[in-house]
Symmetry: C2
Subunit: 262 residues, 2 copies
DNA sequence: CAGGCCGTGTGGTCAGACCACAGCATATGC
DNA sequence: GCATATGCTGTGGTCTGACCACACGGCCTG
């Protein structure tokens, strides 16, 4: 079988032409298996060579489709033999979201200011959700995972700027995960990831890192307090001030306030 | 040059081993070019064969990277010769966002309910933004592109259910685009796309399509009215009711209200 | 029975060969 | 002189076959 067979043959084509490219055939086949429940997280995909012969395409086309699935965070591949080898369904969205947003920012498809605005919207929604969930329970909500990160940031002087900002990102991500919404959590991870280099580049613009980091730590605590108190309005306001404050201080964003978060 | 040269050679490796896989080398190379501004939307990527020899990898590895970029919405490829052929930077995020979310939903990485919740959050943010932007101007805001879609939906009886829902999706997307935030707009496109099949599948659950579609059309108009009036609070409430109402009616979502949107 | 060895199947990569296609330069016709 | 037809050239799209490194698991050996 040669390439011409798999696609179109002008005169009286016995087999109907397939406008899809070979790798799309593979992708859609796997997607259909996922939708039908024939493939669930943890399952192995057939071997590349098997998939190729089953679908009547070349192995390279299969690999192009698998590469897409891998970048999108749907599969994990590993060489060798045994239970852990091959392509396994994992469904980890954050990696794909990060790649997508990072590249779109790089390609000027996304404006950095829009990324920040969007983060503001999602972050506000997250703390609102958490605060109301906390207020609805007599014993409050367990923000342990997030608070642990704050404790780590309190190791004053022993945390570099990059480490501090990484912990900061992890804290906000932890809040998103605590809200239980995987979609928002992965979006936040992607948004933050896509502008990470810009955030780091803004540090030298700060008048005093010690002062800023101290303020950030205090603001984090106050956000947690507002959530635990169940005061959604307060939590939303504080998280908005927290984020816009930092970006304004690093001359990153011009607009001090944003109506979207209200 | 064989595969072993490109990767590791155990004894006294003259060239340092590269833990990255070949396609990642290509991807990062292109990303670096984008970040440095050496590649901007509209530019052509080097030919696959050229890229391969320049980076010292095989053409198949280059193609795997290009495939990823294509699915992520960064490039567009075309065969033949001339100015329109080859791989061209386009930076259209919505396609990649749709693929990502659709596949993650299929692979159970995203819960459909979380998708709806997230859409609620973003949609509320969009109309809030629009209403405040409109209220700040004496002449209001031009919602023309969105209203045109509503007019198309008013061709009662001559619009199939699928067409109606497509117009519905386009309307909401138009609002997001009018807000000027490309990040949110592409997210909305992806979210909607990822649950499109579920939305269509829910139509038979409706007691009366005529009644429901009529209500939806009325709600759309009322949302537009609220935006043009500049009443953000009202617009937010209406859009929330609009979305939750439909999903509740199709037995799609159990929770009638969601605190995230308040 | 324990340890080491090797077969086997996996993904990772490359090289080379075609194909269809689109543009453009050239040649050919009027 | 102009318009049309022709073929060349370079592009992505695809397949095939060949290696490699690797990890497991059964087998053999001590």
């Amino acid at each position: 079988m040669t390439a011409v067979d798999a696609r179109a043959v002008s005169p009286a084509s016995a087999a109907p032409i397939d406008p899809r490219r070979a790798w799309q055939v593979v992708l859609q086949h796997i997607e259909a298996d996922l939708l039908a429940g024939r493939l669930v997280p943890g399952d192995h995909l057939p071997a590349e060579r098997t998939l190729a012969s089953e679908l009547g395409v070349g192995r390279s086309s299969v690999r192009e489709a698998l590469r897409v699935l891998e970048v999108l965070g749907l599969i994990r591949t590993q060489t060798g033999s045994g239970p852990q080898s091959g392509a396994i369904i994992v469904a980890r969205p954050s990696g794909g979201m990060s790649s997508l947003m990072r590249l779109q920012v790089a390609a000027q498809g996304f404006d950095v200011r829009d990324v920040v605005k969007t983060r503001l919207v999602l972050e506000a929604a997250v703390v609102t959700e958490l605060a109301e969930a906390s207020g609805a329970r007599v014993d409050g909500l367990d923000l342990g995972p997030a608070v642990e990160l704050l404790d780590a940031m309190d190791a004053d002087g022993r945390v570099s700027e990059a480490e501090f900002l990484a912990l900061d990102a992890a804290f906000h991500l932890a809040l998103a995960e605590l809200s239980g919404n995987a979609v928002i959590a992965s979006m936040m991870a992607g948004l933050r990831n896509s502008i990470e280099s810009y955030v780091l580049a803004g540090v030298p613009n700060l008048p005093s890192w010690a002062e800023t980091s101290g303020r950030l730590r205090h603001e984090h605590r106050s956000i947690v307090d507002a959530i635990e108190t169940g005061d959604a309005e307060l939590a939303r306001g504080r998280v908005r001030a927290h984020i816009t404050g930092y970006y304004t201080e690093t001359n990153f964003i011009s607009a001090p306030a944003d109506p979207l978060t209200r």
